[in-house]
Structure formats: structure tokens, C-alpha cells
């Protein structure tokens, strides 16, 4: 069929496809323009909405995104604009897959004020105790950030530098503590370097 070989035949064959491509492209552009701000806001909210819970006295609207040591952190501020702490995203390998969490710290990064697990794919009913059991989060509140936290399998005193492993979720508890330790150490070093830089 000459239709399929001649040059004009090409357009006769494919005009519909080209027309569809253009109209669908326009539709997608419209969707992008109308939804993109909302999607960005949702992504930001996932983190920012936790800030008042993690750092006592913080106000969600006053949070400021900053870059410390090349990574994104959130400065938590109260209603008067004074910094009351930091909220730091952290991630690492858990038992099954990646664990993403937020760590709340006081302004000098010397005390941990709390953690919040953003995303985990641990075993449902066992490893996901790190999310479902409230007391696991409580273990981290008020812990000193100077030395790495240790995971033990007995009763712990609050603020003693020890975290009690969840029964049936030892590896997940280990993983969360390791992620917290590493991130806190990195942040401490980065803040110290920033302080030195501004003093010199």
C-alpha cells in the first residue's frame, strides 16, 4: 500500500497519534501545574508536622530548613522565634529494608528529645513494634547525645544512655539505635565545625 511508504502517507497514518500526543501532553502539563504545589506541600508536611511532637515548645510554622554538614536538617523554633532544637532526618538499613526516621535534639545537640519512625518495612507484628509500641519512642527521650546509646535486654533507667530492645524485634531495635547514634555523631561534628568556622 502506497499509503504506508510515501512521506505524506506517514502523516496520514499517524496524525491521530500526534494529535493525541499533543493533547495528552497539554493535559499532563495542566495536571502538573495544578497539583505540583500540593504534592510538594504534602512531602514537606510529612516531616514538618512531627516537629512540635519531637521538640517541646516548637511551633510547626516557624521551622526552618537548613543545611548542616551538607545534609538537610530542620531548625525548630518556638512562637517567639528562639531556636528550641533541631529535627534531623536519618536513614539506614533495618532488618528487612531501609528505615527512615526523624531525630529531635536540643539546640546544642547534646540531648535527644525524641525520635519518630517515618518509614519502615520490618516484619509486621514483630519488627514493626518500633512504630507501634509507644514505649520504644519513649526510651529515646532525654538521652544524652555525647556517647553512643547501647541496646540492652533488661530494664533501663531513663536518660541512662541505654535503650531496651523490644522482645521479638531485637535486630530492628539495634538498627534504629545504630541509625540514631550515627546521625547524632555526624550532626555533632558538623555543628562543631560550623561553630569553629564562625568563630575563626
Amino acid at each position: 500500500m502506497s499509503d504506508q511508504t510515501s512521506r505524506a502517507g506517514f502523516f496520514r497514518q499517524s496524525w491521530l497519534v500526534l494529535l493525541l500526543a499533543l493533547s495528552f501532553g497539554a493535559a499532563l502539563a495542566a495536571v502538573e501545574i495544578s497539583f505540583a504545589p500540593r504534592i510538594r506541600e504534602n512531602k514537606r508536611n510529612a516531616t514538618v508536622s512531627q516537629i512540635p511532637e519531637l521538640v517541646p515548645g516548637a511551633v510547626k510554622e516557624a521551622s526552618k530548613e537548613q543545611s548542616v554538614g551538607g545534609a538537610l536538617v530542620y531548625g525548630a523554633y518556638d512562637a517567639e522565634g528562639r531556636q528550641v532544637g533541631w529535627v534531623v532526618p536519618a536513614a539506614g538499613q533495618g532488618f528487612a529494608d531501609r528505615i527512615e526516621l526523624l531525630i529531635g535534639l536540643d539546640p546544642t545537640a547534646s540531648t535527644i528529645t525524641g525520635i519518630y519512625v517515618l518509614d519502615q518495612k520490618e516484619t509486621p507484628g514483630l519488627g514493626d513494634y518500633i512504630t507501634s509500641k509507644e514505649r520504644f519512642r519513649r526510651y529515646f527521650e532525654g538521652q544524652p547525645a555525647a556517647a553512643p546509646l547501647k541496646v540492652v535486654k533488661r530494664e533501663v533507667a531513663p536518660r541512662s544512655g541505654e535503650i531496651r530492645a523490644l522482645t521479638g524485634a531485637t535486630i530492628s531495635s539495634d538498627a534504629v539505635t545504630a541509625i540514631v547514634n550515627q546521625r547524632v555523631r555526624e550532626l555533632g561534628a558538623a555543628l562543631a565545625q560550623a561553630r569553629q568556622g564562625s568563630e575563626s
Binding site: F24, G25, L28, A29, E32, G70, A71, Q93, I171
Partner: protein, 232 residues
């Protein structure tokens, strides 16, 4: 050493621990449809691995250079058109459309290759070769790559071509492993007295469930391997 360990972890995770069929439920249709005979199943596994590799290469290239916020090619073109503008161009909305066309083209390419160099294999496949286009596993591999390239919030975490290809190839290998095991089991089942309602898809799914349970035993192996290799 750390770099190789990273790649190896992605490979082991994709092939065995987070097996595409038994953990992520992608590629179920050929898994049930083509797993009657071991040689057919193995051939399908190889074809899918081949297609996944080509599709992953093309998808990564598109996503990295065009389909993410602040991509090099789009930024370059925009600077020519509107110099001095600091707007971040984000064409990632076109990703899905480009992926499916990349996959369709990869399947066409493999079809032509097989027809030229392996005619008996091409005939044996029949209708199943074009159906690889609708194999969720390939699109899933492209989506995972997109998640780590366009969706990475930290620029240092963006996957390069090496990690993308590792995920794709070993994901395909995992699919081949799962479908071949299933074919072996089904060949044995042919000699058994399967109750009538369960024949065909029913018994295949039940066997797949037991296989999935077995593969669940691999959870955490990558973390153990990581500790072993990197001595953490």
C-alpha cells in the same frame, strides 16, 4: 570494597530477598501462564532478563538526563531559551509514558533479535514474546530506578547507571529463578491428583504461597552479608 559490597547487596536483595515475583508480586501473569515446562520457563526468564536490562538502561538514561527536577539536559535547553532564569524544570510527569514506550521498543528489539538469530526459540515463544510488554516486572524495575533517581531527596543518594543495571539484571534473574522453580514443581504436580477446582491457577498460587514463605527466610541476609563484608 565498600562500593562492590553495595552493588552486591542490591543484587542479592533484588534476586532473592525481595524477589520480584514472590515478594513484590510483579510478573505474576507469566509466572502462572508460562510455568508449565522447565525449558519454556527458563527461556522466558532469560528473555525477561534481557528485556529488563535494555529497558532499565534506557529508562535510567531518560530519567537521569531529562525526567527529574533539575535534570542536566532540560536545564541546558532551558538556559538557551530563557537565559538568566533560575526556574527548576521538572519533566518527571512524562516518566511513565516514556517507560512504557521504552519497554515496548525493547520487546520489539528482542523479538527482531530472536527472529534473526534463534528462529526455533522465537517460534517456541509464540504469543508470549509480545506479552512481555505487559509484564509488570519490567515496568516495576523502571519504577524502582525512577524512585532512586528522580525521587531521591539527597543528591548524593541518586543511583548511577551501575546500581540501576544491577537492580534490573538481578531482578530479572530473580524472576527467572522463581519461574524455573515453579515450573519444576508443576512438572512434578502433573503426575499428582490435584482436586478439580484447584487445577491450573489455584494450585499454582498455593505453591507460590509456600515458595514465598520459604523465600521469606532470606530476610535480613543482606544485612548479615553487609556486616560480614564490611566488618561493621
Amino acid at each position: 570494597m565498600e562500593y562492590l559490597a553495595q552493588l552486591m547487596l542490591i543484587a542479592v536483595a533484588a534476586a532473592i530477598i525481595n524477589n520480584f515475583v514472590l515478594h513484590y508480586f510483579v510478573g505474576i501473569c507469566p509466572f502462572i501462564g508460562v510455568s508449565r515446562k522447565v525449558d519454556m520457563a527458563f527461556g522466558m526468564g532469560c528473555a525477561v532478563t534481557f528485556v529488563i536490562s535494555i529497558a532499565a538502561f534506557l529508562s535510567w538514561t531518560f530519567t537521569y538526563f531529562i525526567g527529574r527536577p533539575g535534570a542536566p539536559l532540560t536545564t541546558f535547553i532551558w538556559r538557551q531559551v530563557a537565559p538568566g532564569s533560575t526556574a527548576v524544570i521538572d519533566l518527571s510527569i512524562l516518566n511513565y509514558i516514556i517507560f512504557i514506550f521504552v519497554i515496548a521498543s525493547s520487546v520489539q528489539f528482542v523479538e527482531m533479535y530472536l527472529r534473526r538469530f534463534f528462529p526455533p526459540l522465537f517460534k517456541a515463544f509464540g504469543i508470549f514474546l509480545p506479552l512481555i510488554t505487559t509484564n509488570c516486572a519490567i515496568l516495576f524495575a523502571c519504577l524502582e530506578i525512577m524512585k532512586h533517581v528522580a525521587g531521591a531527596s539527597d543528591p548524593a543518594q541518586i543511583w548511577g547507571l551501575d546500581k540501576a543495571l544491577t537492580l534490573a539484571i538481578f531482578g530479572g534473574i530473580g524472576f527467572a529463578i522463581a519461574i524455573t522453580i515453579m515450573a519444576g514443581i508443576r512438572e512434578e504436580l502433573d503426575g499428582c491428583d490435584v482436586p478439580k477446582p484447584l487445577r491450573g491457577a489455584g494450585i499454582t498460587l498455593l505453591v507460590a504461597g509456600i515458595l514465598a514463605m520459604a523465600f521469606m527466610g532470606f530476610t535480613g541476609v543482606d544485612r548479615g552479608l553487609e556486616t560480614l563484608i564490611l566488618g561493621k
